[in-house]
Amino acid sequence: MIEIEDLVHVYPSGTRAVDGVSLSIGTGETVALVGQNGSGKSTLVRHLNGLQRPTEGRVVIDGVDASTRRVAQLAATVGLAFQDPDRQIFAGSVRGEVEFGPRNLGLGGTALTEATEAALTGTGLAGEADTNPYDLGYSRRKLLALASILAMQTPIVVLDEPTTGQDARGVSRIERIVAELAEDGRTVIAITHDMRFAAAWFERIVVMRAGKAVLDGSPAEVFDQANWPVLASTYLEPPLAARVGARLGLGSTPTVRALIERLGEGGGGTIPDRTPG
Protein backbone atom coordinates (compact mmCIF):
# COMPACT_ATOMS: atom_id res chain seq x y z
CA MET A 1 0.00 0.00 0.00
CA ILE A 2 1.55 3.27 -1.12
CA GLU A 3 0.32 6.60 0.17
CA ILE A 4 1.71 9.73 -1.43
CA GLU A 5 0.51 12.73 0.59
CA ASP A 6 0.75 16.26 -0.83
CA LEU A 7 4.16 15.53 -2.24
CA VAL A 8 6.23 18.47 -3.37
CA HIS A 9 9.76 18.19 -4.71
CA VAL A 10 11.82 21.23 -5.56
CA TYR A 11 15.28 20.73 -7.02
CA PRO A 12 18.19 22.92 -5.82
CA SER A 13 17.96 24.77 -9.13
CA GLY A 14 14.48 25.88 -8.15
CA THR A 15 12.55 23.62 -10.50
CA ARG A 16 9.31 22.47 -8.92
CA ALA A 17 9.31 18.97 -10.38
CA VAL A 18 6.47 17.60 -8.26
CA ASP A 19 3.91 20.19 -7.29
CA GLY A 20 1.49 18.72 -4.78
CA VAL A 21 0.64 15.15 -5.73
CA SER A 22 -1.57 12.93 -3.58
CA LEU A 23 -2.05 9.32 -4.66
CA SER A 24 -3.03 6.07 -3.03
CA ILE A 25 -1.88 2.90 -4.72
CA GLY A 26 -3.29 -0.33 -3.37
CA THR A 27 -1.32 -3.54 -3.04
CA GLY A 28 -1.39 -5.44 -6.31
CA GLU A 29 -2.53 -2.50 -8.42
CA THR A 30 -1.00 -1.92 -11.84
CA VAL A 31 -0.51 1.76 -12.57
CA ALA A 32 0.82 3.43 -15.71
CA LEU A 33 2.29 6.89 -15.20
CA VAL A 34 2.18 8.98 -18.35
CA GLY A 35 2.96 12.54 -19.28
CA GLN A 36 5.35 14.77 -21.12
CA ASN A 37 9.06 14.73 -20.44
CA GLY A 38 9.61 17.00 -17.50
CA SER A 39 6.14 16.47 -16.03
CA GLY A 40 7.62 14.96 -12.87
CA LYS A 41 7.05 11.25 -13.45
CA SER A 42 10.65 10.14 -12.83
CA THR A 43 11.05 12.42 -9.84
CA LEU A 44 7.82 11.10 -8.36
CA VAL A 45 8.71 7.41 -8.59
CA ARG A 46 12.16 8.03 -7.18
CA HIS A 47 10.50 9.00 -3.93
CA LEU A 48 9.24 5.45 -3.63
CA ASN A 49 12.66 3.97 -2.99
CA GLY A 50 14.21 6.96 -1.35
CA LEU A 51 16.42 8.17 -4.18
CA GLN A 52 14.58 11.45 -3.82
CA ARG A 53 13.31 12.83 -0.57
CA PRO A 54 10.24 15.06 -0.30
CA THR A 55 10.64 18.80 0.01
CA GLU A 56 7.14 18.83 1.45
CA GLY A 57 4.67 16.05 2.05
CA ARG A 58 5.16 12.37 2.79
CA VAL A 59 5.50 9.02 1.12
CA VAL A 60 4.27 6.13 3.23
CA ILE A 61 4.86 2.56 2.10
CA ASP A 62 3.05 -0.21 4.00
CA GLY A 63 2.65 2.09 6.96
CA VAL A 64 6.27 3.20 7.06
CA ASP A 65 7.34 6.75 6.20
CA ALA A 66 9.91 6.31 3.43
CA SER A 67 12.07 9.12 4.77
CA THR A 68 12.83 7.05 7.87
CA ARG A 69 14.53 4.38 5.80
CA ARG A 70 17.74 4.31 3.79
CA VAL A 71 17.60 3.60 0.07
CA ALA A 72 19.14 0.17 0.49
CA GLN A 73 16.50 -0.71 3.06
CA LEU A 74 13.65 0.40 0.83
CA ALA A 75 15.17 -1.69 -1.97
CA ALA A 76 13.78 -4.79 -0.29
CA THR A 77 10.28 -3.43 -0.87
CA VAL A 78 10.57 -1.35 -4.01
CA GLY A 79 12.52 -2.50 -7.07
CA LEU A 80 13.22 0.30 -9.54
CA ALA A 81 14.47 -0.50 -13.05
CA PHE A 82 16.35 2.50 -14.40
CA GLN A 83 15.75 3.77 -17.89
CA ASP A 84 19.45 3.60 -18.89
CA PRO A 85 20.85 0.11 -18.21
CA ASP A 86 24.44 1.28 -18.65
CA ARG A 87 24.24 3.34 -15.50
CA GLN A 88 23.80 0.17 -13.50
CA ILE A 89 25.45 -2.83 -15.15
CA PHE A 90 28.84 -3.66 -13.69
CA ALA A 91 29.23 -7.42 -13.51
CA GLY A 92 31.26 -9.47 -15.95
CA SER A 93 28.47 -11.88 -16.63
CA VAL A 94 24.71 -11.69 -17.06
CA ARG A 95 24.20 -14.05 -14.17
CA GLY A 96 26.51 -12.09 -11.88
CA GLU A 97 24.59 -8.94 -12.70
CA VAL A 98 21.23 -10.52 -11.90
CA GLU A 99 22.52 -12.03 -8.64
CA PHE A 100 23.81 -8.72 -7.28
CA GLY A 101 20.47 -7.38 -6.10
CA PRO A 102 19.09 -10.50 -4.39
CA ARG A 103 22.49 -11.12 -2.79
CA ASN A 104 22.42 -7.68 -1.23
CA LEU A 105 19.00 -8.51 0.13
CA GLY A 106 20.38 -11.57 1.86
CA LEU A 107 19.31 -14.33 -0.50
CA GLY A 108 21.65 -17.27 -0.83
CA GLY A 109 21.88 -20.88 -1.85
CA THR A 110 18.88 -22.39 -3.63
CA ALA A 111 16.68 -19.35 -3.08
CA LEU A 112 19.23 -17.20 -4.90
CA THR A 113 19.59 -19.64 -7.77
CA GLU A 114 15.84 -19.96 -8.19
CA ALA A 115 15.26 -16.22 -8.14
CA THR A 116 18.05 -15.69 -10.66
CA GLU A 117 16.88 -18.43 -13.02
CA ALA A 118 13.29 -17.20 -12.91
CA ALA A 119 14.38 -13.67 -13.76
CA LEU A 120 16.65 -14.85 -16.59
CA THR A 121 13.96 -17.05 -18.10
CA GLY A 122 11.31 -14.36 -17.86
CA THR A 123 13.48 -11.90 -19.77
CA GLY A 124 14.69 -14.46 -22.30
CA LEU A 125 18.31 -14.23 -21.19
CA ALA A 126 18.72 -17.75 -19.83
CA GLY A 127 20.81 -18.73 -22.84
CA GLU A 128 23.28 -15.91 -22.23
CA ALA A 129 23.76 -16.35 -18.50
CA ASP A 130 27.54 -16.47 -18.86
CA THR A 131 27.87 -13.78 -21.50
CA ASN A 132 29.43 -10.43 -20.75
CA PRO A 133 26.65 -7.85 -20.59
CA TYR A 134 28.46 -5.55 -22.99
CA ASP A 135 28.42 -8.27 -25.63
CA LEU A 136 24.64 -7.91 -25.65
CA GLY A 137 22.92 -5.22 -27.67
CA TYR A 138 21.42 -2.20 -25.93
CA SER A 139 17.84 -3.50 -25.88
CA ARG A 140 18.94 -6.78 -24.29
CA ARG A 141 20.98 -4.92 -21.71
CA LYS A 142 17.76 -3.14 -20.87
CA LEU A 143 16.11 -6.51 -20.36
CA LEU A 144 19.08 -7.48 -18.19
CA ALA A 145 18.60 -4.41 -16.02
CA LEU A 146 14.96 -5.43 -15.64
CA ALA A 147 15.93 -9.02 -14.80
CA SER A 148 18.26 -7.82 -12.07
CA ILE A 149 15.34 -6.04 -10.43
CA LEU A 150 12.90 -8.94 -10.93
CA ALA A 151 15.32 -11.26 -9.18
CA MET A 152 14.95 -9.17 -6.04
CA GLN A 153 11.30 -10.27 -5.91
CA THR A 154 10.12 -7.04 -4.39
CA PRO A 155 6.40 -6.60 -3.66
CA ILE A 156 6.47 -3.26 -5.51
CA VAL A 157 8.09 -3.05 -8.96
CA VAL A 158 8.69 0.27 -10.70
CA LEU A 159 9.66 0.34 -14.39
CA ASP A 160 11.02 3.46 -16.03
CA GLU A 161 10.10 3.35 -19.73
CA PRO A 162 10.43 -0.42 -20.09
CA THR A 163 9.41 -0.69 -23.74
CA THR A 164 11.59 2.09 -25.13
CA GLY A 165 14.02 0.72 -27.69
CA GLN A 166 12.52 -2.76 -27.75
CA ASP A 167 11.38 -4.48 -30.94
CA ALA A 168 8.03 -6.29 -31.09
CA ARG A 169 9.39 -9.39 -29.37
CA GLY A 170 10.92 -7.34 -26.60
CA VAL A 171 7.68 -5.47 -26.07
CA SER A 172 5.76 -8.75 -25.86
CA ARG A 173 8.19 -9.96 -23.24
CA ILE A 174 7.69 -6.86 -21.16
CA GLU A 175 3.92 -7.20 -21.49
CA ARG A 176 4.05 -10.80 -20.31
CA ILE A 177 6.27 -9.84 -17.37
CA VAL A 178 3.80 -7.15 -16.30
CA ALA A 179 0.91 -9.61 -16.55
CA GLU A 180 2.77 -12.22 -14.50
CA LEU A 181 3.74 -9.71 -11.83
CA ALA A 182 0.11 -8.63 -11.57
CA GLU A 183 -1.05 -12.21 -11.34
CA ASP A 184 1.46 -12.70 -8.56
CA GLY A 185 -0.18 -9.89 -6.60
CA ARG A 186 2.69 -7.42 -6.94
CA THR A 187 2.18 -3.71 -7.29
CA VAL A 188 3.48 -2.58 -10.68
CA ILE A 189 4.11 1.05 -11.59
CA ALA A 190 5.40 1.87 -15.07
CA ILE A 191 6.42 5.15 -16.63
CA THR A 192 5.67 4.96 -20.32
CA HIS A 193 5.01 6.98 -23.45
CA ASP A 194 3.24 4.05 -25.11
CA MET A 195 -0.48 4.72 -24.67
CA ARG A 196 -1.48 1.39 -26.20
CA PHE A 197 0.76 -0.48 -23.74
CA ALA A 198 -0.64 1.57 -20.85
CA ALA A 199 -4.27 1.02 -21.80
CA ALA A 200 -3.94 -2.72 -22.44
CA TRP A 201 -1.84 -3.85 -19.51
CA PHE A 202 -2.56 -1.52 -16.61
CA GLU A 203 -5.77 -1.16 -14.64
CA ARG A 204 -5.09 2.45 -13.76
CA ILE A 205 -3.53 5.38 -15.58
CA VAL A 206 -2.25 8.57 -13.93
CA VAL A 207 -1.56 11.50 -16.25
CA MET A 208 0.94 14.06 -15.03
CA ARG A 209 1.39 17.59 -16.26
CA ALA A 210 3.78 20.17 -14.82
CA GLY A 211 4.24 18.29 -11.58
CA LYS A 212 0.59 17.59 -10.89
CA ALA A 213 -1.64 14.60 -11.50
CA VAL A 214 -4.34 15.88 -13.85
CA LEU A 215 -6.15 12.62 -14.62
CA ASP A 216 -6.41 9.44 -12.60
CA GLY A 217 -8.60 6.47 -13.41
CA SER A 218 -9.09 3.33 -15.41
CA PRO A 219 -8.02 3.40 -19.07
CA ALA A 220 -11.68 3.63 -20.08
CA GLU A 221 -12.13 6.67 -17.85
CA VAL A 222 -8.89 8.41 -18.77
CA PHE A 223 -9.25 7.91 -22.51
CA ASP A 224 -12.95 8.83 -22.56
CA GLN A 225 -13.70 11.54 -25.08
CA ALA A 226 -14.59 13.97 -22.30
CA ASN A 227 -10.95 13.93 -21.23
CA TRP A 228 -9.39 14.42 -24.64
CA PRO A 229 -8.90 18.18 -24.18
CA VAL A 230 -6.91 17.51 -20.99
CA LEU A 231 -4.81 14.91 -22.78
CA ALA A 232 -4.25 17.28 -25.68
CA SER A 233 -3.10 20.00 -23.29
CA THR A 234 -0.19 17.78 -22.37
CA TYR A 235 0.42 16.61 -25.94
CA LEU A 236 -0.85 13.10 -25.36
CA GLU A 237 -3.03 11.24 -27.83
CA PRO A 238 -5.40 8.44 -26.80
CA PRO A 239 -4.70 5.06 -28.40
CA LEU A 240 -6.15 4.35 -31.82
CA ALA A 241 -8.80 1.98 -30.44
CA ALA A 242 -10.16 4.79 -28.26
CA ARG A 243 -10.30 7.21 -31.15
CA VAL A 244 -12.02 4.70 -33.41
CA GLY A 245 -14.54 3.73 -30.73
CA ALA A 246 -15.42 7.35 -30.14
CA ARG A 247 -15.83 8.00 -33.84
CA LEU A 248 -18.17 5.03 -34.17
CA GLY A 249 -20.19 6.22 -31.18
CA LEU A 250 -19.33 3.16 -29.07
CA GLY A 251 -18.34 4.97 -25.88
CA SER A 252 -14.90 4.61 -24.36
CA THR A 253 -12.91 1.72 -25.87
CA PRO A 254 -9.32 2.18 -24.75
CA THR A 255 -8.12 -1.18 -26.06
CA VAL A 256 -8.60 -3.27 -29.19
CA ARG A 257 -10.31 -5.89 -27.07
CA ALA A 258 -12.82 -3.37 -25.73
CA LEU A 259 -13.50 -2.05 -29.20
CA ILE A 260 -14.10 -5.50 -30.63
CA GLU A 261 -16.34 -6.44 -27.73
CA ARG A 262 -18.42 -3.31 -28.22
CA LEU A 263 -18.75 -3.97 -31.91
CA GLY A 264 -20.04 -7.42 -31.03
CA GLU A 265 -20.46 -8.44 -34.62
CA GLY A 266 -19.06 -11.47 -36.36
CA GLY A 267 -20.77 -13.97 -34.09
CA GLY A 268 -18.31 -13.85 -31.22
CA GLY A 269 -15.13 -14.28 -33.19
CA THR A 270 -12.04 -14.93 -31.14
CA ILE A 271 -9.91 -12.05 -30.03
CA PRO A 272 -6.39 -12.79 -31.26
CA ASP A 273 -3.91 -13.89 -28.65
CA ARG A 274 -0.64 -12.00 -28.63
CA THR A 275 2.01 -14.56 -27.77
CA PRO A 276 5.60 -13.34 -27.78
CA GLY A 277 7.56 -14.50 -30.82
Binding site: S13, G35, Q36, N37, G38, Q83, G137, S139, R140, E161, T164, G165, Q166, D167, A168, R169, G170, V171, H193, R196, Y235, L236, E237, P239, L240, A241, V244, R247, L248, V256, L259, I260, L263, E265, G266, G267, G268, G269, T270, I271, P272, G277
Partner: protein, 268 residues
Protein backbone atom coordinates in the same frame (compact mmCIF):
# COMPACT_ATOMS: atom_id res chain seq x y z
CA UNK B 1 21.65 10.90 -53.98
CA UNK B 2 23.15 8.40 -51.60
CA UNK B 3 23.70 4.94 -52.98
CA UNK B 4 24.90 1.69 -51.41
CA UNK B 5 25.64 -1.11 -53.84
CA UNK B 6 26.33 -4.73 -52.87
CA UNK B 7 27.41 -3.64 -49.42
CA UNK B 8 28.75 -6.41 -47.25
CA UNK B 9 30.27 -5.22 -43.99
CA UNK B 10 32.25 -7.00 -41.32
CA UNK B 11 33.24 -5.34 -38.06
CA UNK B 12 36.97 -5.31 -37.21
CA UNK B 13 37.89 -8.42 -35.29
CA UNK B 14 34.72 -10.31 -36.13
CA UNK B 15 34.59 -13.26 -38.49
CA UNK B 16 31.08 -12.94 -39.89
CA UNK B 17 29.67 -9.98 -41.78
CA UNK B 18 26.74 -8.16 -40.22
CA UNK B 19 25.47 -6.78 -43.52
CA UNK B 20 25.19 -8.89 -46.64
CA UNK B 21 24.70 -7.66 -50.20
CA UNK B 22 22.78 -4.57 -49.26
CA UNK B 23 21.50 -2.30 -52.00
CA UNK B 24 20.00 0.98 -50.88
CA UNK B 25 19.25 4.20 -52.65
CA UNK B 26 18.22 7.52 -51.11
CA UNK B 27 17.01 10.07 -53.61
CA UNK B 28 17.10 13.81 -52.94
CA UNK B 29 14.14 14.79 -50.80
CA UNK B 30 13.21 11.17 -50.11
CA UNK B 31 12.39 9.95 -46.61
CA UNK B 32 13.13 6.26 -46.28
CA UNK B 33 12.24 4.24 -43.19
CA UNK B 34 14.34 1.32 -41.93
CA UNK B 35 12.66 -1.38 -39.86
CA UNK B 36 13.70 -4.76 -38.57
CA UNK B 37 14.08 -6.68 -35.33
CA UNK B 38 16.85 -5.70 -32.95
CA UNK B 39 20.27 -7.00 -33.96
CA UNK B 40 19.18 -7.34 -37.59
CA UNK B 41 21.79 -4.82 -38.68
CA UNK B 42 19.84 -1.54 -38.62
CA UNK B 43 22.50 0.37 -36.72
CA UNK B 44 25.28 -1.14 -38.81
CA UNK B 45 23.49 -0.16 -41.99
CA UNK B 46 23.17 3.38 -40.65
CA UNK B 47 26.90 3.54 -39.93
CA UNK B 48 27.78 2.20 -43.36
CA UNK B 49 25.42 4.61 -45.11
CA UNK B 50 27.03 7.45 -43.20
CA UNK B 51 30.44 6.25 -44.28
CA UNK B 52 31.68 5.96 -40.70
CA UNK B 53 31.98 2.23 -41.26
CA UNK B 54 34.77 1.75 -42.25
CA UNK B 55 36.19 5.31 -42.35
CA UNK B 56 36.05 5.74 -38.59
CA UNK B 57 35.52 2.37 -36.95
CA UNK B 58 37.46 0.22 -39.38
CA UNK B 59 36.23 -3.18 -40.43
CA UNK B 60 35.85 -4.37 -43.97
CA UNK B 61 33.35 -3.07 -46.48
CA UNK B 62 32.85 -4.83 -49.77
CA UNK B 63 30.71 -2.98 -52.26
CA UNK B 64 30.45 0.77 -52.64
CA UNK B 65 28.97 3.85 -51.05
CA UNK B 66 28.44 6.70 -53.46
CA UNK B 67 27.54 10.21 -52.30
CA UNK B 68 26.12 12.49 -54.97
CA UNK B 69 28.10 10.68 -57.62
CA UNK B 70 31.39 10.59 -55.70
CA UNK B 71 32.56 7.28 -54.25
CA UNK B 72 33.12 7.52 -50.53
CA UNK B 73 36.08 5.14 -50.47
CA UNK B 74 39.08 6.80 -48.96
CA UNK B 75 37.15 9.85 -47.74
CA UNK B 76 38.20 11.12 -44.35
CA UNK B 77 35.49 11.57 -41.74
CA UNK B 78 35.52 15.35 -42.00
CA UNK B 79 35.00 15.08 -45.75
CA UNK B 80 32.05 12.81 -45.08
CA UNK B 81 30.75 15.27 -42.47
CA UNK B 82 30.16 17.85 -45.20
CA UNK B 83 27.86 15.50 -47.07
CA UNK B 84 26.21 13.06 -44.68
CA UNK B 85 25.55 13.14 -40.95
CA UNK B 86 24.14 10.57 -38.55
CA UNK B 87 22.10 11.07 -35.38
CA UNK B 88 22.16 8.40 -32.67
CA UNK B 89 19.55 7.56 -30.09
CA UNK B 90 21.51 8.53 -26.99
CA UNK B 91 21.55 12.31 -26.64
CA UNK B 92 24.24 12.23 -23.94
CA UNK B 93 26.95 10.86 -26.19
CA UNK B 94 26.19 13.38 -28.92
CA UNK B 95 26.85 16.34 -26.69
CA UNK B 96 30.29 17.88 -27.24
CA UNK B 97 30.79 18.72 -23.59
CA UNK B 98 32.54 21.97 -24.41
CA UNK B 99 29.63 24.29 -25.14
CA UNK B 100 28.33 26.56 -22.41
CA UNK B 101 24.93 27.12 -24.01
CA UNK B 102 22.61 25.32 -26.37
CA UNK B 103 23.31 27.96 -29.00
CA UNK B 104 27.05 27.29 -28.86
CA UNK B 105 26.46 23.55 -29.02
CA UNK B 106 24.42 23.90 -32.20
CA UNK B 107 26.92 26.35 -33.71
CA UNK B 108 29.89 24.00 -33.18
CA UNK B 109 29.20 21.94 -36.28
CA UNK B 110 29.22 24.78 -38.85
CA UNK B 111 32.08 26.39 -36.96
CA UNK B 112 34.13 23.22 -37.31
CA UNK B 113 33.54 23.34 -41.05
CA UNK B 114 35.56 26.53 -41.13
CA UNK B 115 32.65 28.75 -42.11
CA UNK B 116 32.64 32.55 -41.57
CA UNK B 117 31.05 33.64 -38.32
CA UNK B 118 27.99 35.21 -39.95
CA UNK B 119 27.23 31.98 -41.79
CA UNK B 120 27.73 29.89 -38.63
CA UNK B 121 25.30 32.07 -36.71
CA UNK B 122 22.74 32.02 -39.52
CA UNK B 123 22.80 28.25 -39.78
CA UNK B 124 22.56 27.83 -36.02
CA UNK B 125 19.58 30.20 -35.82
CA UNK B 126 17.88 28.35 -38.67
CA UNK B 127 18.28 24.96 -36.99
CA UNK B 128 17.01 26.41 -33.70
CA UNK B 129 13.87 27.76 -35.25
CA UNK B 130 13.15 24.56 -37.16
CA UNK B 131 13.09 22.55 -33.96
CA UNK B 132 11.53 25.37 -31.93
CA UNK B 133 14.37 25.46 -29.47
CA UNK B 134 14.26 29.24 -28.87
CA UNK B 135 13.11 28.84 -25.23
CA UNK B 136 16.24 26.92 -24.31
CA UNK B 137 19.02 28.56 -26.34
CA UNK B 138 20.72 29.98 -23.25
CA UNK B 139 20.50 26.79 -21.21
CA UNK B 140 23.44 24.61 -20.23
CA UNK B 141 23.41 21.58 -22.56
CA UNK B 142 24.33 19.30 -19.63
CA UNK B 143 21.17 20.27 -17.79
CA UNK B 144 18.50 19.38 -20.32
CA UNK B 145 15.95 16.61 -20.13
CA UNK B 146 16.55 13.58 -22.36
CA UNK B 147 14.04 14.76 -24.92
CA UNK B 148 15.38 18.29 -25.06
CA UNK B 149 18.93 16.98 -25.38
CA UNK B 150 17.98 14.83 -28.34
CA UNK B 151 16.35 17.77 -30.10
CA UNK B 152 19.53 19.78 -29.53
CA UNK B 153 21.63 16.91 -30.90
CA UNK B 154 19.53 16.78 -34.06
CA UNK B 155 19.60 20.55 -34.43
CA UNK B 156 23.39 20.46 -34.08
CA UNK B 157 23.53 18.16 -37.09
CA UNK B 158 20.98 20.07 -39.13
CA UNK B 159 23.02 23.23 -38.66
CA UNK B 160 25.67 21.67 -40.87
CA UNK B 161 23.18 21.63 -43.76
CA UNK B 162 24.09 18.14 -44.93
CA UNK B 163 22.55 16.68 -48.11
CA UNK B 164 21.89 13.37 -46.40
CA UNK B 165 20.80 12.70 -42.85
CA UNK B 166 20.79 9.25 -41.28
CA UNK B 167 18.92 8.84 -37.99
CA UNK B 168 19.28 5.74 -35.81
CA UNK B 169 16.18 5.61 -33.57
CA UNK B 170 16.09 9.37 -33.05
CA UNK B 171 12.84 9.42 -31.09
CA UNK B 172 13.61 6.52 -28.74
CA UNK B 173 13.89 8.77 -25.73
CA UNK B 174 11.35 11.41 -26.74
CA UNK B 175 7.80 11.87 -25.55
CA UNK B 176 4.96 12.09 -28.10
CA UNK B 177 5.30 15.87 -28.38
CA UNK B 178 9.01 15.63 -29.03
CA UNK B 179 8.46 12.83 -31.54
CA UNK B 180 5.98 14.95 -33.45
CA UNK B 181 8.32 17.95 -33.42
CA UNK B 182 11.19 15.91 -34.81
CA UNK B 183 8.87 14.41 -37.42
CA UNK B 184 7.77 17.85 -38.60
CA UNK B 185 11.33 19.12 -38.78
CA UNK B 186 12.41 16.09 -40.80
CA UNK B 187 9.50 16.57 -43.19
CA UNK B 188 10.50 20.16 -43.79
CA UNK B 189 14.09 19.07 -44.39
CA UNK B 190 13.05 16.58 -47.03
CA UNK B 191 10.93 19.20 -48.75
CA UNK B 192 14.07 21.29 -49.01
CA UNK B 193 15.83 18.46 -50.82
CA UNK B 194 17.67 16.61 -48.04
CA UNK B 195 17.45 12.83 -48.21
CA UNK B 196 16.68 11.00 -44.96
CA UNK B 197 17.09 7.45 -43.70
CA UNK B 198 15.29 6.82 -40.42
CA UNK B 199 15.69 3.60 -38.47
CA UNK B 200 12.80 3.28 -36.03
CA UNK B 201 10.58 0.96 -34.05
CA UNK B 202 7.76 3.49 -34.12
CA UNK B 203 6.14 2.37 -37.33
CA UNK B 204 3.30 4.87 -36.82
CA UNK B 205 5.85 7.64 -37.22
CA UNK B 206 7.34 6.03 -40.33
CA UNK B 207 3.83 5.51 -41.68
CA UNK B 208 3.28 9.26 -41.51
CA UNK B 209 6.66 10.43 -42.74
CA UNK B 210 8.17 7.99 -45.18
CA UNK B 211 7.87 7.62 -48.91
CA UNK B 212 9.51 4.22 -48.77
CA UNK B 213 10.32 1.65 -46.13
CA UNK B 214 13.12 -0.91 -46.10
CA UNK B 215 12.89 -4.08 -44.00
CA UNK B 216 16.11 -5.69 -42.84
CA UNK B 217 16.62 -9.04 -41.12
CA UNK B 218 19.78 -11.04 -40.56
CA UNK B 219 21.82 -8.41 -42.34
CA UNK B 220 19.87 -8.62 -45.59
CA UNK B 221 17.25 -6.36 -47.11
CA UNK B 222 14.05 -8.37 -47.21
CA UNK B 223 11.67 -5.74 -48.56
CA UNK B 224 12.12 -2.34 -50.11
CA UNK B 225 9.03 -0.59 -51.34
CA UNK B 226 6.24 1.90 -50.80
CA UNK B 227 5.44 2.59 -47.15
CA UNK B 228 1.90 1.23 -47.22
CA UNK B 229 2.98 -1.99 -48.92
CA UNK B 230 5.87 -2.79 -46.61
CA UNK B 231 4.21 -1.75 -43.35
CA UNK B 232 1.06 -3.61 -44.35
CA UNK B 233 2.96 -6.83 -45.01
CA UNK B 234 1.59 -9.60 -42.77
CA UNK B 235 5.05 -11.10 -42.29
CA UNK B 236 6.23 -8.04 -40.33
CA UNK B 237 5.02 -9.25 -36.97
CA UNK B 238 6.59 -12.65 -37.38
CA UNK B 239 9.88 -10.87 -37.97
CA UNK B 240 9.61 -8.93 -34.76
CA UNK B 241 8.46 -5.61 -36.20
CA UNK B 242 5.35 -4.00 -34.74
CA UNK B 243 3.11 -2.80 -37.60
CA UNK B 244 1.45 0.62 -37.41
CA UNK B 245 -1.55 0.85 -35.08
CA UNK B 246 -4.11 1.08 -37.87
CA UNK B 247 -2.69 -2.02 -39.60
CA UNK B 248 -2.70 -3.99 -36.38
CA UNK B 249 -6.20 -2.87 -35.48
CA UNK B 250 -7.57 -3.83 -38.89
CA UNK B 251 -5.92 -7.21 -38.64
CA UNK B 252 -7.20 -7.86 -35.11
CA UNK B 253 -10.71 -6.86 -36.09
CA UNK B 254 -10.63 -9.10 -39.14
CA UNK B 255 -9.34 -11.99 -37.04
CA UNK B 256 -12.25 -11.45 -34.65
CA UNK B 257 -14.63 -11.93 -37.53
CA UNK B 258 -15.64 -8.31 -37.96
CA UNK B 259 -16.78 -7.49 -41.47
CA UNK B 260 -14.62 -5.56 -43.94
CA UNK B 261 -17.19 -2.83 -44.27
CA UNK B 262 -17.13 -2.08 -40.55
CA UNK B 263 -13.35 -2.08 -40.49
CA UNK B 264 -13.12 0.32 -43.38
CA UNK B 265 -15.65 2.61 -41.75
CA UNK B 266 -13.73 2.47 -38.48
CA UNK B 267 -10.39 3.40 -40.02
CA UNK B 268 -11.66 5.92 -42.55
Amino acid sequence: MLELANATYRYAGYAKPVLRDVDLRLGDGEIVGLVGPNEAGKSTLCLVAAGLAPASIGGELKGTLTLDGTPATGMRTHDLAERVVIAFQNPNTQRSGIAATVFEEIALGPMNLGLPIAETVARARDAISRLRLEPIVERDPQRLSGGQAQLVAIASLLAMRPRHVILDEPTAQLDPAGTRLVGEALEALAEAGTSLLIAEHKTDLLDRLCHRVVLIDGGRIIRDGATADVLGDPSLEGLGVEPPARVRLARDMAAAGIGRGVIERALA
